[in-house]
Amino acid sequence: MSYVEVRSLSKSYDGTSVFQNIDLDVAQGQICVLVGPSGCGKTTLLRAVAGLAQPDGGTIHIDGRDVTHTEAKNRGVGMVFQHYALFPNMTVEQNLAFGLQQKKLSAPVIAEKVAAMVQLMGLEARAKARPAALSGGQRQRVALARALILEPKLLLLDEPLSALDAQIRKRLREELKRLQHQIGFTAIFVTHDQEEALMLGDVVAIMQSGRFVQVGAPADIYNRPAGLAVASFIGDFNLFEPAQVKALFNASTDATWAVRPESIDISKPGKGHAQKDEGPVLKGTVSSVQVLVAILRHYVRCGDLLVKVDVLNTPGAEKFVVGDKVSLRIPKHAISEMRQ
């Protein structure tokens, strides 16, 4: 039996089903990321686990205990909200102490725990500040601290980073990962951002219109997407329709070929390809090059088709400029055949 076990959970609002007979397992100490477009039901699932939404059917077990009909405050879960939900009339310390006070702990114990948590989260300088005086990143750090200080059996995070700007979001992701290593909590994390899902999840569950289309480790999901829907949601793909496959590679297939831009091997014609791997070769012309931070993206025109090719942006690597004639080798193992 897994640490968190959701079995055939169903929920509908006003006669419209949000999800039906959903199962989910989370192992202790892992972060499970629910990712999907908005409206796919991921937040409702999270709220059902938290006890903030009553499911129509199914069961929820946490740490072996059936909590399906337990009140939210007795489930032993902590939650972090997208918009922080800090208590605006209280300082950072008072926000952290609130949950402990409800447990009727003694004042010195509370003070000690609060001080330790303030230090763990690096909030010493802002301990006496009210939420309104904090930056978005600091607020979310306080919200996380407020949930963690009660040592919940399960931490639920509802798009906690979406309201923050790119730089802060990146830093907080790192921090969350570090905290997980340090204090080892179990968490369900909801996001619509595939980048975030792949980076944070020990397990990633991709949800679309109320059901899981793929559940697995981040690397597996990236490299072996279960279908076109997953493939186009996670990362970039070059898609070759059957007709294009016929025209370009002279191969006959009824499936669409999906190839990741970074798995295509680009080189000057005649210079040979570094990778030993066999596969079809295309000739083309570089039509534009973009710097995506650590990656150089080449748009290569091959007949009607614009093929995306990514290489690492290393100083020593061979550079291609707009107008260069190039040869593209598509390794056989990099081709995913997709049928709708």
Partner: protein, 263 residues
């Protein structure tokens, strides 16, 4: 920056002066020996003050005014605040209509409300309240509602109340604890503004007191009406005394409203 600050302040003082001029005129009149055709009175005296404070009806009317004001002050928020909170959290449609409903008392002249309430509270519907302070207290409620609604709603607009309740519950708190420890402190400022505005309105509203309670229950405003027939100078004294109360209340509003930006 400093240049602009000074301009701002000059402008503020100008507007304030424009608003305060009538009040100053009344205050001067209260202490004037004679005043006609000149910018400032010709002399000052405390005679009018002494003559009015020796009138027992004056003290009685101050007592009655305070009774009504404080009564409405205590009862109205107990009905209006929960209604605003419940509408805000659970009935978004109601909430939208409430914003319109609360301006109704402004759109309906006081005299209409007064006459209608008089009819309701005078026995036709089994409620006999005519001539008691209760008429005033209940009569004020529809008028006081917007004075609470607007500032409290302003406070609530920036709060995500549903999320705060959810967060509080997940931290193990009862709804009552969340209400008293989080919600009330957060809307405190709106509540204070509402209380003060309600208080000044209740103390000051002339028409109501006059029309609703008649001679049985003399409040300050009726006393003013009586004096109006007599000496205008005495009336000025009364209004000035009275304005001290109003000014203190206004000071509290200003203080509460400016605190908003400090936090």
């Amino acid at each position: 920056m400093r240049e602009r600050n000074r301009l701002d302040w000059a402008f503020i003082c100008l507007v304030a002066a424009f608003q305060l001029l009538p009040i100053l005129a009344v205050a001067l009149n209260a202490f004037a020996t004679d005043w006609a055709g000149t910018v400032l009175p010709e002399g000052y005296t405390l005679d009018h003050v002494r003559s009015i404070t020796s009138d027992p009806r004056f003290l009685q009317s101050i007592y009655n005014s305070l009774l009504v004001s404080v009564g409405s002050l205590i009862l109205t928020p107990l009905i209006v605040v929960p209604a605003v909170l419940i509408a805000h959290c659970y009935f978004p449609i109601l909430d939208r209509w409430m914003a319109i409903l609360v301006i109704l008392p402004f759109a309906v002249p006081g005299i209409v409300l007064a006459l209608g309430l008089l009819r309701i509270y005078s026995g036709n519907y089994g409620i006999v309240l005519t001539g008691t302070p209760w008429v005033l207290i209940f009569g004020y409620m529809p008028v006081a509602a917007p004075l609470y609604y607007v500032p409290i709603k302003n406070n609530l607009r920036t709060l995500r109340l549903t999320e705060l309740f959810e967060a509080g519950r997940l931290l193990g708190a009862s709804d009552f604890a969340i209400f008293t420890k989080i919600v009330v402190p957060c809307i405190k400022q709106g509540l204070i503004i509402g209380l003060v505005m309600n208080f000044t309105l209740a103390v000051s509203d002339f028409v109501y007191a006059n029309l609703l309670v008649g001679g049985h229950f003399p409040t300050l405003q009726i006393f003013m009406g009586v004096l109006n027939g007599g000496s205008g100078r005495k009336l000025s004294v009364l209004i000035t005394t009275y304005f001290v109360v109003i000014f203190a209340s206004t000071a509290i509003v200003v203080w509460a409203a400016s605190r908003r930006d400090d936090k």
